[in-house]
């Protein structure tokens, strides 16, 4: 027990004192979170802006609703010119009871949206003018759907990726460096089992993963990024631990083959980077072509991403952990077994 505790402490100290590792564990993924979070913050949230000439009941109803952004013009020609120049998708011209919309043909989606909205408000005003109660009513309510706000999919994705990277690199580099510096031989000459050495390194990796989770989620929840966690967010913790074990095993496999730290680092990148891109770390994988989505299913990171997304922001329950957990455990067992077969004590 003392051996396990002291080894864990030694590795923790080694980790904390290594500035490069700290950077790649915490700041590097955070940089992606911050950059993408800020760049994509307003995507999908920006309102369509149109030109308005004149005023009236319909215009003030539109303004109050806030569904369109209105830019007031005094002159019809100036407003139409804006549409011709392509600066605005449409111009609404009010002449007493008569409303006229001049829209750009090039952007049919936006124009149709504007026409629909304006038409809706005109109909509403007409119904109100008759003094009759409306026969049909409808209510609209927001649903948190698959197309999430960017920060909502970025945080689980970058968290999974950051945890995967630090687990793979942590185990691969430790293994190679210890073999090269003959620390492994030295440990083999001590009456201590390989299991306690391995599990102490794994303990440090899981601790690091939990700290990463806390920091990434904490920063994403700042008002400037605006992450909103679902009630079942704590289900991410078992997922975080299983992911660490799976990617730790992958690092052991990489470390068994690599002879130098440089080679290990390159090999780990070759394994982790494509997996990160194809698993929906930086963009929702639902936007990718179907074949790519199928391919991405072979990566454990894809399943970890899905699980994280489901429990952190989509509010799914424990049933959302079944598939990701099974995949991560299976991956850890298979890869861990392979790693133990090719493990070498010395060069």
């Amino acid at each position: 027990m003392t051996a396990f505790r002291t080894l864990s402490l030694a590795m923790l100290k080694g980790f904390v004192r290594d500035k490069v590792t700290l950077f790649f564990t915490f700041l590097f993924p955070l940089m992606f979170l911050v950059i993408f979070g800020l760049i994509l913050r307003d995507v999908g949230a920006d309102k369509t802006k149109i030109a308005v000439v004149g005023d009236g009941q319909v215009v003030s109803a539109l303004r109050d609703s806030g569904v369109l952004e209105l830019e007031q013009y005094n002159d019809v020609d100036a407003a139409v010119q804006k549409v011709k120049d392509g600066d605005l998708p449409a111009a609404l011209i009010v002449r007493g009871q008569q409303l006229e919309v001049r829209f750009a043909q090039s952007d049919q989606v936006k124009s149709a949206t504007v026409l629909g909205i304006v038409n809706g408000f005109v109909d509403k005003a007409n119904v109100a003018a008759t003094g009759q109660p409306p026969r049909f009513t409808f209510a609209a309510e927001k649903v948190e759907d698959a197309s999430l706000k960017p920060i909502q999919f970025l945080t689980p994705g970058i968290l999974s990726w950051g945890v995967a990277v630090s687990a793979v690199f942590g185990s691969a580099l430790t293994l190679v460096s210890w073999r090269r510096k003959q620390v492994l031989r030295r440990i083999r000459l001590a009456p201590v089992s390989a299991t306690s050495v391995l599990s102490s390194r794994l303990l440090v990796s899981t601790g690091v993963a939990l700290v990463q989770g806390g920091i990434f989620v904490g920063i994403a929840m700042l008002p400037v990024f605006g992450l909103k966690l679902s009630g079942s967010w704590w289900l991410a913790i078992p997922l975080l631990l299983l992911g660490t074990i799976a990617f730790f095993a992958l690092g052991m496999l990489v470390g068994a083959f690599a002879k130098t730290e440089e080679a290990a680092s390159a090999a780990a990148n070759i394994v982790v980077l494509p997996m990160a891109f194809l698993s929906g770390t930086f963009f929702p994988v639902e936007q990718a072509p179907a074949w790519l989505q199928a391919v991405s299913k072979i990566f454990p990171l894809r399943h970890m991403n899905d699980g994280m997304l489901n429990v952190l922001v989509r509010g799914k329950g424990i049933e959302a952990l079944v598939v990701p957990s099974a995949v991560l455990i299976g991956f850890a067992l298979v890869v861990g077994f392979l790693a133990s077969r090719v493990f070498k004590w010395e060069e």
Binding site: T2, A3, T6, L7, L9, K13, G14, V183, I187
Partner: protein
């Protein structure tokens, strides 16, 4: 064979790597408390021999008894009783000297307090809180020896502890090695410094090309060599002709600075020189292990 008094017994071990025969029939015993040196140039098979005794490698044939037990396969009962310092300096990343010792100690269940004693022993008490990579080569070497000793083993294996050290650091390390022997440890160590082995070791095995060529206390090896003693004087102290005429002198020659006399009976030669008052710049150099190596292999010793 004195089985119970021997720390190490090696009988006819052999080890080949493909075509290369690294160890080719080596046998020796090391008594408890002995300082035993394995000496030879690079590639002589010293390190492989040591690794087989430590239980890191299996010999192709032959037998090893370490403290009465077989070290192969990995013998966990034996491990706490042996201390091994490896050729490279093997340390944990970013830990201070004291933390290294505490961590290695913990592998053996040793209390953390031992670290301070060990630092004292190897003269690194003032470097306790320095990180390992900030130490000098000699300090690192001493720290790695301390790591090998932290669990108070009976037999200590040191693989070229003085390699690549400057002369002052080497001498400091010699003091450490002597202090370890005074604690009653058996020391088996390899070196390619002949002069060092001569000073430190109780017995020396001279290895070349996987075989032991000679095994004796250094003084016996040198004496058995029957090599002449060289007496050197300042040039002009005596003429070459007069020197050659002295009783016991085999040969005398002169260069720009000195006169060198070779003799197998240095006593009468030295008294004759004293009688003539011709002792200016006197130096006497007896044969060394280098001469033994030259005699055994027919080639000059190159570390």
């Amino acid at each position: 064979m004195t089985g119970e008094r021997s720390a190490v017994v090696v009988r006819d071990i052999r080890k080949s790597y493909g075509e290369l025969t690294a160890v080719d029939g080596v046998s020796f015993t090391v008594a408890e408390g002995e300082f035993f040196g394995i000496l030879g140039p690079n590639g002589a098979g010293k390190t492989t021999t040591l690794e087989i005794i430590e239980g890191l490698r299996e010999p192709d044939s032959g037998e090893v008894r370490l403290l009465g037990e077989s070290p192969w396969p990995r013998n966990v009962k034996l491990l706490p009783r042996i201390g091994v310092q490896l050729q490279a300096s093997s340390f944990f990343e970013k830990l201070t000297a004291k933390e290294q010792l505490q961590t290695f100690g913990a592998l053996y269940g040793v209390s953390p307090g031992t670290a301070a004693d060990m630092l004292e022993l190897v003269g690194l008490a003032d470097k306790a809180n320095e990180q390992e990579n900030k130490l000098s080569g000699g300090q690192r070497q001493r720290l790695s020896i301390a790591c090998a000793l932290v669990h108070d083993p009976d037999v200590v294996f040191l693989d070229e502890p003085t390699a690549a050290l400057d002369p002052q650091a080497r001498r400091n390390l010699w003091d450490v090695l002597r202090a370890i022997q005074e604690r009653g440890k058996t020391i088996v160590y390899t070196t390619h410094y002949l002069d060092e082995a001569e000073i430190l070791c109780d017995r020396v095995a001279i290895m070349d090309e996987g075989r032991i060529l000679a095994l004796d206390p250094p003084a016996v090896l040198v004496r058995g060599l029957d090599a002449p003693t060289h007496v050197t004087l300042q040039k002009g102290a005596l003429s070459v002709v007069d020197a050659s005429a002295l009783d016991g002198v085999e040969e005398a020659h002169e260069n720009e600075v000195s006169l060198t006399i070779s003799t197998r009976r240095p006593a009468p030669v030295l008294s004759a020189l004293a009688e003539r008052g011709a002792l200016d710049g006197l130096q006497v150099r007896a044969a060394t292990l280098e001469d033994v190596f030259l005699d055994l292999t027919g080639r000059e010793y190159r570390a």
